[in-house]
């Protein structure tokens, strides 16, 4: 097993090593957690094609072992085994360049543990689900290889202890996302979507890289904990710049406005990919980053306001678009955008624990919803348009009941998970004087409930609009697909109760308190007791009421179980006035952001690029070519001196002699 090779790792580890052996040995599991998916990827990439059908066995086994090891580490971390501030392990010195030293090392604390729970559990369930979902795909060995690569990258991101490793893992998850979105590379739309995802991510990564460079320049270290220690001594402007640049990276990776355009297109990938990467893990990387760098953000409240503003704006923007989308996966994609907006809003107001709580809950119920939608799509033979579904609740019962659980959870109805996490975000926003965040957030909660019940109504309830040729063949999916659904439904129901109670001093608050204590101190927050019959109770009531209104409206318009949806009423409402027609069109066209990007970057950017190309061809290349041409022409001219006749050469000598002698005589006589 690895032993820490570099002395002076962390005081906790050293003290633990002096006191007892337990933290020492368990932290050594961390490199193993990372090595297994990596080995799975390498093996499947090299031998997968030859193995053929059973190619999924090794990756699935690997991820299961990783899950087990992670759960051991998580349990140890959350019960304080690594000390209150976490423990680290350094493997070797990666870059040694004078003053610039970067070690490969990993760090586990309670925040890491929470992320590990989400990443490994959903990763494992998605691997299992993919066995059934990709059963008929000839490229499934590639799929599992990429999935393992993604697991490795995401785990590396979460476990890294310095910014450079995080950045490397950041790019790796982007790469895995590209590979998986474009998995069916023969489809042009998939290839374009993969390219779009990667490029938009890169735009954010520029900011992130600049932020890392600024951290290095101002604090002299890239190790996260050392950097956080030295942050307090910097001047305000620098810290603000660092925070905003790091947030740029989060905006790109977590698809916040204005870099949100890649996520809906990313639905071109297979549904397990959407569930794993674009709902439960990769898009959470941005949230994790901001939460991890909370010491930086807590020194610059202006940056936190920016975070909150962008977050809540994305939330309402995405929710408004989800109202009119007809592709079931697109609705869920916009829902993900909206919930991520919630998480950033929570981070922005300083409710870090609430953000992480929502991250975990959302990972589970959004993963459930996506996998469920995959099951639905599978059942109706790859039809993704909700207008051609309906009355499926009898035919695919397990999928239906689990998705119902997911829908209730995301709508924020107690006692399911979404209620606890969402309510905590909104409550904190209100109590910390971010009234505008609270107001918009409540509206978004209502909108969420509405469009989720629209989805359920159109997909499962009322009368069937399924293509008659497909209808008799509708069947429930195999156990490899329905078991993950059931397993995800359980935390969607119970996670909130487990982690969110008792109010005000919940389990998750106790877990994460040491991670965020420093930030809360910098921001000057004091803990207030929970007032069930005071402000807190009123806030809970308000959010439940709004969610219920959305739910009722959704059910009334789109059907419930045997009752049909009122399509004419819906059309009447959308066509009722100029404003609603405009809003409907705007929502359907995603508020024309894709068109704006197309105009700015493809059309105008294309013209600029053409102009620059003209300049490069004509001026720059022209200059270089002209130099060459002049040389060649001069050479051609001078060549004519060489006549080949000895007498001409002799004449030249004679003339030269005369000139020399003559000039000597002339000069000498002066």
């Amino acid at each position: 097993m690895f032993q820490p090779l570099i002395p002076g790792v962390s005081p906790v580890l050293a003290a633990a090593a002096a006191g007892g052996a337990a933290p020492d040995s368990l932290i050594n599991l961390v490199p193993l957690i990372l090595a297994i998916p990596l080995a799975g990827f390498v093996f499947t990439a090299f031998f997968g094609r030859r193995i053929g059908r059973p190619a999924f066995v090794l990756p699935l086994l690997g991820v299961s072992v990783t899950w087990l090891l992670s759960m051991v580490v998580v349990y140890h971390a959350l019960t304080g085994g690594f000390g209150e501030h976490g423990a680290g392990i350094t493997l070797w010195r990666w870059i040694a360049a004078g003053a610039f030293n970067v070690d490969v090392g990993f760090f586990v604390d309670q925040l890491t543990a929470c992320l590990l729970i989400v990443v490994t559990t959903i990763g494992l369930l998605v691997h299992l689900y993919s066995v059934g979902y990709m059963a008929h795909d000839p490229g499934r060995w590639r799929f599992f290889a990429y999935l393992n690569l993604f697991m490795f990258s995401m785990l590396l991101l979460v476990l890294a202890d310095n910014f450079l490793t995080v950045f490397a893992a950041w790019e790796l998850v982007g790469l895995s996302s590209y590979l998986l979105i474009g998995f069916w590379y023969g489809r042009r739309s998939a290839a374009l979507a993969a390219k779009k995802a990667f490029i938009v991510n890169r735009v954010g990564d520029v900011g992130f890289a600049l932020g890392i460079m600024l951290i290095w320049v101002s604090t002299g270290t890239l190790n996260m904990r050392e950097a956080f220690d030295r942050i307090a001594g910097l001047d305000h402007g620098t810290i603000l710049a660092i925070a905003l640049l790091v947030f740029c990276g989060a905006v790109g990776k977590s698809a916040q406005f204005p870099l949100h355009v890649w996520l809906p297109d990313a639905m071109e990938g297979p549904t397990p990919v959407s569930a794993l990467i674009h709902a439960a893990t990769m898009v959470n990387a941005g949230v994790y980053l901001v939460a991890r760098t909370n010491p930086i953000f807590s020194h610059v409240p202006e940056a936190m306001v920016v975070v909150a503003a962008i977050g809540i704006f994305t939330a309402i923007l995405a929710a408004s678009i989800a109202f009119t989308q007809t592709d079931i996966k697109r609705v869920l994609a916009y829902s993900t955008l909206s919930q991520l907006g919630y998480m950033f809003a929570a981070l922005g107001v300083g409710a870090y624990v609430a953000a992480i709580f929502h991250l975990m809950a959302h990972g589970f119920f959004k993963g459930l919803l996506f996998l469920g939608s995959g099951s639905v799509i599978h059942a109706v033979h790859d039809e993704q348009d909700m207008n051609r579904m309906g009355a499926l609740w009898r035919k695919i019962p397990i999928t239906h009941w689990t998705m119902l659980v997911g829908a209730i959870a995301i709508a924020g109805i107690p006692p399911f998970a979404g209620f606890f996490s969402k309510d905590e975000i909104l409550g904190e926003a209100f109590k910390l004087n971010f009234g505008w965040v609270w107001a918009i957030g409540v509206v978004v909660a209502g909108m969420t409930a509405f469009y989720m019940w629209r989805l359920m109504g159109k997909t499962f309830y009322g009368e069937s609009h399924v293509d008659p040729a497909v209808e008799p063949k509708i069947h429930e999916s195999t156990w490899t697909m329905t078991l993950p659904l059931v397993l995800l439904a359980i935390p969607s129901m119970l996670l909130g109760l487990a982690l969110g109670l008792p109010f005000g001093d919940s389990m998750i608050t106790r877990w994460l308190h040491p991670v965020f204590a420093g930030a809360e101190e910098t921001l000057g927050r004091t803990a207030e007791p929970f007032a069930l019959f005071g402000i807190d109770g009123a806030l809970i009531l308000a959010s439940v009421a709004v969610a219920s209104i959305g739910l009722v409206a959704g059910i009334w318009l789109f059907g419930f179980f045997r009752r049909n949806g009122r399509r004419q009423t819906v059309e009447m409402i959308t066509a009722s006035s100029g404003a609603t027609r405009f809003l409907y069109r705007a929502s359907l066209n995603k508020w024309w952001f894709d068109d704006l990007n197309h105009l700015l970057f493809i059309v105008i950017g294309g013209r600029v690029a053409n102009a620059l190309w003209w300049f490069d061809r004509t001026v720059v290349d022209g200059t270089v070519n002209a130099v060459g041409r002049i040389t060649v022409d001069a050479g051609g001219g001078l060549r004519r001196i060489q006549t080949g006749h000895v007498q001409n050469y002799a004449l030249g000598i004679a003339i030269g002699l005369i000139i020399m002698a003559g000039s000597y005589l002339v000069i000498a006589s002066r």
């Binding site: 060549r639 006549t643 080949g644 006749h645 000895v646 007498q647 002799a650 004449l651 004679a654």
Partner: protein, 103 residues
């Protein structure tokens, strides 16, 4: 014998001029060789004239003239041999027709 050095120098200068004109203007290779001989003889005359008129030299300039003559003979031999070899190949003694290496 003339008592002024200038006369001898003028004569050898004229000889040299005639020789170099012949070298530059004649097409026949043999004529060019003859002109070279003429130039060499002009130089010899100059050397010997200087040797006769400058007391400090004690008449030892003739040695240089002797060496020049030896070199001239050797060079004429070699030159003639080359011209004859080229003539056998090219069938013409005219130097401006030797243009095989020209572009």
């Amino acid at each position: 014998m003339s008592q002024s050095l200038d006369a001898y120098l003028v004569v050898s200068g004229i000889l040299f001029a005639i020789g170099s004109f012949g070298f530059l203007a004649r097409r026949n290779a043999i004529s060019m060789l003859m002109s070279i001989e003429l130039m060499l003889n002009a130089v010899n005359l100059t050397i010997v004239a200087f040797g006769a008129f400058i007391p400090a030299l004690n008449g030892t300039a003739s040695v240089i003239a002797l060496m020049v003559m030896a070199v001239a003979a050797a060079e004429a031999t070699v030159g003639l041999a080359i011209v004859m070899a080229i003539y056998r190949n090219r069938r013409t003694p005219l130097v401006d027709e030797y243009d095989a290496m020209r572009q």
